[in-house]
Every structure is written in structure tokens, then in C-alpha cells.
Amino acid sequence: MLHKTPISAAVAAATLTLFTAGCTATGQVQPKATEAPAQVDYTKMKPQELAEYLVFQSGSYDLAQPTQEGTTGKDRLTQDELQKVCSQVARSGKEIDDKTAERINKMAMATIKYPEGGIKLGDWRKGRDIAWSGFGFRTAHNPDDHNRGTPGGNCYNCHQLAADRTGGTIGPSLTGYGKIRGSSPEMLKYAYEVIYNPHAYFACTQMPRSGAKGLLTQQQILDVMAYLFDPASPVNK
């Protein structure tokens, strides 16, 4: 097990002996007067202020990068009100307070648009494909080409659904969803709303706003719902 690492260590040890003479005790070199002046002094900024500077002004991100929805990298990084509030909640490490939660719930509920024909379950087979797929909207070094595939819902990443595939555990298990809850109009409306914008019920949840952010179409949401509710769906077997 030790047959490879020692050689490099021996070399490092030798190098160490050769060069330690030129080092300070801590290895930390004192700043010189000749150092190039920084354009902005990071140490004068509050952490959050510096974080925002780094995102938008340090040249770190490709802010002009085109996105699949026709915006730019800068738009992707610009926070809306909900993202700002929920970042602070996450940063605090505490549970969200009731008043803030209520405000987020209301704000989220106001974003929900319902299908014109009412909430009717779609095709559970299509819903299964959507629930499984993690394709879509990725950019960075390898942008997803939406002409080559339909964006998915990423549901399986966080939820266990049918027993035939291993799902994640970031969110609760949804196995047997319709079987347990039935499919009353109230139940369907609730599920539609949770998929469309989960913050309407769970303020600052980790779950994406698939409808409100245009990640899934209304029809795709109805297909995913069929996967959850249809008695023929593997979720309910």
C-alpha cells in the first residue's frame, strides 16, 4: 500500500532541507511596499457585499453567456426577492420565522397559473420520463441543447417515486402518492400548486419552482401528476 507515495515524499523531504533556509518560520512572507495596488480593497467590504462584487464585477462568471430561455448568465445570477430572503434564511442556519414564511407563501401563491381546461391528469408514461430526466437548462462549460431533448423535471434526484428506480432522499418519498391520498379535486389542486411553486406551502424549500420559473410546461406538470396519482402508475403499485 505504501509502494508509491514514499518516493515523492523523500523528494519533498530533500527539497525541504534544501530550501528551508530562505523561509520565515511560518512560511508567510511579509507584504512588500511594491505590491500592485488592488483596484478595490476586498478587506473594506462586508462579506455579503464582497460576495455580490465577486459574482458581478470580478470577471469570474461569463455574465454574457446565453441561456436556453433567451436571457444571459447575468440574469441567471441576479436574485429575485424570494432567492434573497431564502439565502439569508439558509445562511442563518435557523428555521424560517412565521412572519417571513407567510410572506413567502403569499408571494409564491400569486405566481401560480392554472391550466385553462382545469387540472386533469395527463399521461403517466410521459410523466415518468419527465420525473426521471435531469436534462435541461444546464449551461456553464457544457450547455444543454434544447433542440436535442425536452427539459426534464429532475424529480428523482431528490424523491423516491416508483420502486423500480432509486431516487434521492433530499425530499420526502412519494412512493404510493395517489394510493395513499386519493385524487380528489382538492388533492390535485394542491399537488399542482406544489409542483408549480412549492414555496406556496413550504417557504424557502430546496425544491425548484418548476412552473413559476418556466422549467416545466403546464402539460408536463399534469403528466408528472399522472405519474403520481394514476392507479396504473408504477408509483402506486
Binding site: 507515495t5 527539497t15 512560511g27 505590491e35 478587506t43 436574485q79 449551461t139
Partner: protein
Amino acid sequence: MIKKALCALPLALALVSTTSTAKAPEDILDELAAKSKSPYLTQSPQNRMMMPDNPAYDIAAEGEQLFKQKRGPKNASLEQCDFGKGPGVLKGAYVELPRYFSDTGKVMDFESRLVYCMKTLQGYTDNDPQIRQRHGNTDIMKLTTYIAMQSNGMPWNPPMNHPLEKAMRDAGEELFYRRAGPMDFNCATCHTNPSGTRIRASVLPNIKIPEEWTKAISWPAYRVGHEAVRSSQHRVLECLWQMRYPNLKPDSDVNIALISFWTDRARGQPAILPDMKR
């Protein structure tokens, strides 16, 4: 070939080796796993079994040659590169990065410092493939693997003496919790869940559990699924891709701030270098 040659070297060499190599990476992992009972640390017995024959060792051997070879327009080796503990000192340097460097007036992570040395000592520029090609079977990954290994088993200990080091770490913490993008993700979405939480079948590491976090940040690691050694900056980039964020430039301050914060959170825990990941 190189691997076989190395294996054939007498055991005597092992005896003169110092404490950093007293434990192999897999032994460090085993001790962390025994101590914490973390499902993240024990999720892949297959990877654990392969660690003694980690392909990263072959890549490191190539890196050692590159490090000592006179190369570039200035025909110089990297043996005078100062990674923070003095010119040429590699032992323990990797676990004390990112840090402030007075010659650039900046906090630099390992990769940005390596690139700085390749430019200043060897004369390479941004247009040269030696600098431009970061990920995959590249010079930078070979050098990274060789140099990082000299800190195997040592506790992460990025200095926080200079005000800029603190500023970058603290900004990194803000970035870690900053939700953005069409899916509202931050780093915390995946890295603050209870131990054992999975994304699909993969157990996620939690930044608040130090034994998990040291493995999470132990890059370079050979990624079996990629058939390549990957770096810290590659991990940042892949996370941002999944998070639906725009492209992040190599060596940028967002990279360095995030890596400053994440290294600080593994402080005191032994580095597993090189690691093997899925």
C-alpha cells in the same frame, strides 16, 4: 511502465519517508469512517478497494517529471515555485492553500498559484496549451496530483493571518448560501442535509460534518466515472453546471473564495491525497 518501476523500488525508500506518508490515503479514509460511521465515507467499497492502485499515482509520476523538467520559453523547471512555504517546498503546501501571496497581492488557490509559476518561471502564457488545457489528462492535472500528494494525511490548515484571507473565506461562505439560477440552488441545497442524504443513489457530503467534508474536498481525486483525475476547480465547475449557473472562469475569485471557505470548514481533518471518487 512507470507504475511497475516504482513498485520495484526497494522498501528502504519507504523507511526514510516522513510522516506524511505513514498512512496511505485508504488508511486515512478507514480511520475517518470508523470514527464517524458516516454513510458518505463508506458508500463505495469498490472505490475503497481500488485506492491502493489508484491510477492517480501514475499521473503523479508523470507530474513529478514535468515538475523537474526544464520547460517553456524560459527553459526552467518548477523547482523554484513558491506555494506559500518557500521556493521549492511542496511538503504540506497543498493543505495550507488558498493563502495570501505578497508577490501578487492576492489570495490564490493551488491551481492559480501553479499557473502563476508556470507563467513567471517558465514563461508560458494564457494562449499556451500547457496553461489553457485544465481538465483531463493535462500537464496541470499531472502537476497538481504530484504536488498535492506531498500533503497526504496532513490536516487542512489554510492560514487566516492576512485580512484578505479572511475576506475571501467569509465571502465564500456567503456564496455557499447564495441561492440563484432557474432552480434556486445554492451549495447548501446538497451539502447541508442530514448525514446519509442521497441525490439519486449518491450519498452527499455535509459541510458541517468535518469527517465527511475532508473527503469531499480531497481533490485531486481519480473519478472512476470520468476515467480522469479531477481538481477542486473542476468540482466547482461541475456543481455550477448542475446548478444551472453560467460558466466560471478558471482561477477566478469566485473559485478562490469558495475553495477558501470549503477548505476552512475541513480545518484540522486529514487530507486524503490522492482520493478516489465515483
